[in-house]
Symmetry: C2
Subunit: 353 residues, 2 copies
């Protein structure tokens, strides 16, 4: 299907998003997470869905693989000799561990820039031991510590390669962002000139796109069908970089990293703020987008883990390796096991094992 | 109504909890929080409700005012010369600021104990500047830093006063916890011997009680009707201690503290984990319990703030002072305003101004 603006329908449109995740404490469900999820192919056929997948959401950091396309497609990555490591960082919400930060600084040096050119605000590393270590040493975070610094380095690299003034590259009107808007329109199959938008945690625009159309964008990355040869090649390289350098996409103990260590190139997955998760399954030519209604990431990881099982990306043995992410045990301050996060019945009904 | 086991009915029983809170980014609602809430009087009459208030929930830390009753009622607080400060700490989820920790240690010294007797696990202070300061100095948290250390000090003080062996006081079978179970049964008007229960973050049992019955327990504290003279006096003293020493109930910048600074003795409110909030309005003789379905506290604060307005506990001027809690502005890492947390229409319909 080559129509540029496909309309994606849910299997069962629903007003209320279904409860897919339950948080147990003792023998009672204490909290519940509702979710919208879509799995589609590159022809915009809905393979699996829950909830109203036509609802617009912000893709947040889950959309980073799509935002990395110009870095590769423009030739910028090749010109500056970037490896899978940097391409993975361009798709990352990294934990700010020393290896992430030094890789970003080394990358920027290749382009003739420093972390001062990054327009994201500084924050302490997400990885607590790294944050505590900095505090003990009296160090304060730089812009390179921002979890989005790899994505921003990709934007800067593309601008430098194309001879654009990079200053203000986070603004909606800047060439960098307008180029990305065009890519999102083509990949997700929608006019986006007049849709709601907001400002993301790192300062760039975030664009409202229906859940199903986000999944379509990821499916086109996974499949390549209907894309120019350059865009299809860029998409394939980005997904491969993520799944072969998964530590650079997130970090120690993070689900994106741990899951891709197990899936290898069968899946490239990416978390985002406010309970969003996206993924591409290249061997199946499928794209995934899911959004927890209330914005809590603990629900999103579990649903993504379920979809990896449902589509045979991981089997029983791999599921056991990822057990602490697929059905996380909850412990209190003393380390006592007090509960678990588990799939609700609606999700379990479609579990293969 | 003096029947010991009242059955509390919702005004409109609902399967799906209603959306009461919306999280905006730019011009789109990005995430939504559903909520069950009950406001009842000491006769178990439901004054206001949303959602299925017969659903059992864990009261978590919101129930601490009820758990402080034995400390005062037994005479332990008087024997050891405790002031409003310590009684407020017994109801606290404090932020671990130096003033909280030293007050706990001084209290335990009065009873002849040290923080070693506390059976809650240590954790860094919730108040980030205090946590960062400790890390910079190379300090590690003690049990007194646990946000529940005041509640635990209350349990220890009561056990010492009554001549009980305090060791193991966090266990369900211990006299301390069995005494509390009896108080919850009487105050909330339910048999609790066979209901679901779990282990709380600090190690003590947490008991499943319907939202409406939690509110009834708070209403009886607020009103005193039907209680023994000793229990009514203990309840009044506890609520007054909370609202006159609000910094000791939570800490710098926390909603419990900031709201009670404004309400004075007209309200005593207490947050809890997993999106629970409870409160007592002594002048109105009302009790409140609310639970965000997904467990996110950012929704709970807003609904509690709305109820303070709805029942005239705070007026327009006070609401303006609490603006950042009632309709919080969201900012990104660079400090740019990116959105807000706001009441959904269903909540706004009952707003007095």
């Amino acid at each position: 299907m080559n129509h540029p603006h496909p309309h994606i329908h849910a299997e069962i449109p629903q007003g209320d998003s279904p409860i897919l995740v339950e948080v147990w404490r003792g023998n009672l469900v204490e909290s519940r997470h509702r979710c919208i999820a879509a799995v589609v192919d590159a022809d915009a056929h809905v393979v699996k869905s829950w909830g109203d997948i036509e609802r617009p959401i912000y893709g947040r950091s889950s959309i980073k693989p799509l935002l990395a396309i110009p870095l590769v497609e423009s030739g910028a990555a090749d010109r500056f000799g970037l490896t899978d490591r940097e391409v993975a960082l361009a798709c990352a919400s990294h934990s700010g561990e020393p290896g992430h930060v030094s890789a970003v600084n080394e990358w920027l040096a290749k382009v003739g820039l420093t972390a001062e050119a990054l327009e994201c605000g500084p924050h302490y590393p997400y990885y607590e031991p790294a944050a505590h270590d900095m505090l003990r040493k009296g160090e304060t975070p730089t812009r390179a510590h921002n979890n989005c610094s790899g994505k921003h380095s990709g934007f800067l690299t593309t601008a430098v390669h194309l001879g654009e003034d990079h200053r203000g590259y986070i603004k909606y009107e800047h060439k960098v962002q307008q180029r990305l808007l065009g890519i999102l329109e083509q990949m997700c199959g929608l006019d986006l000139g007049d849709v709601p938008r907001g400002v993301d945690g790192c300062g760039i625009p975030t664009i409202a796109i229906p859940v199903g159309h986000h999944a379509l964008g990821m499916a086109k990355m996974a499949d390549g069908k209907g894309l120019s040869a350059a865009r299809a090649a860029a998409s394939a390289r980005i997904l491969k970089a993520m799944s072969t350098e998964p530590w650079y996409v997130a970090g120690t103990g993070r689900f994106c990293t741990d899951a891709m260590k197990v899936t290898g190139t069968k899946a490239a997955i990416k978390t985002g703020a406010e309970g969003v998760y996206m993924g591409a399954f290249p061997e199946l030519g499928l794209g995934v987008c899911l959004k927890i209604e209330d914005g809590n990431g603990r629900g999103a990881e579990l649903v993504m883990g379920h979809l990896l099982r449902h589509f045979g990306i991981i089997g029983k043995d791999e599921a056991e390796q990822l057990q602490q992410s697929l059905t996380p045990t909850l412990r209190n301050w003393a380390g006592t096991e007090v509960g678990k996060i588990a799939a609700a019945n609606l999700l379990n009904e479609s579990a293969p094992f």
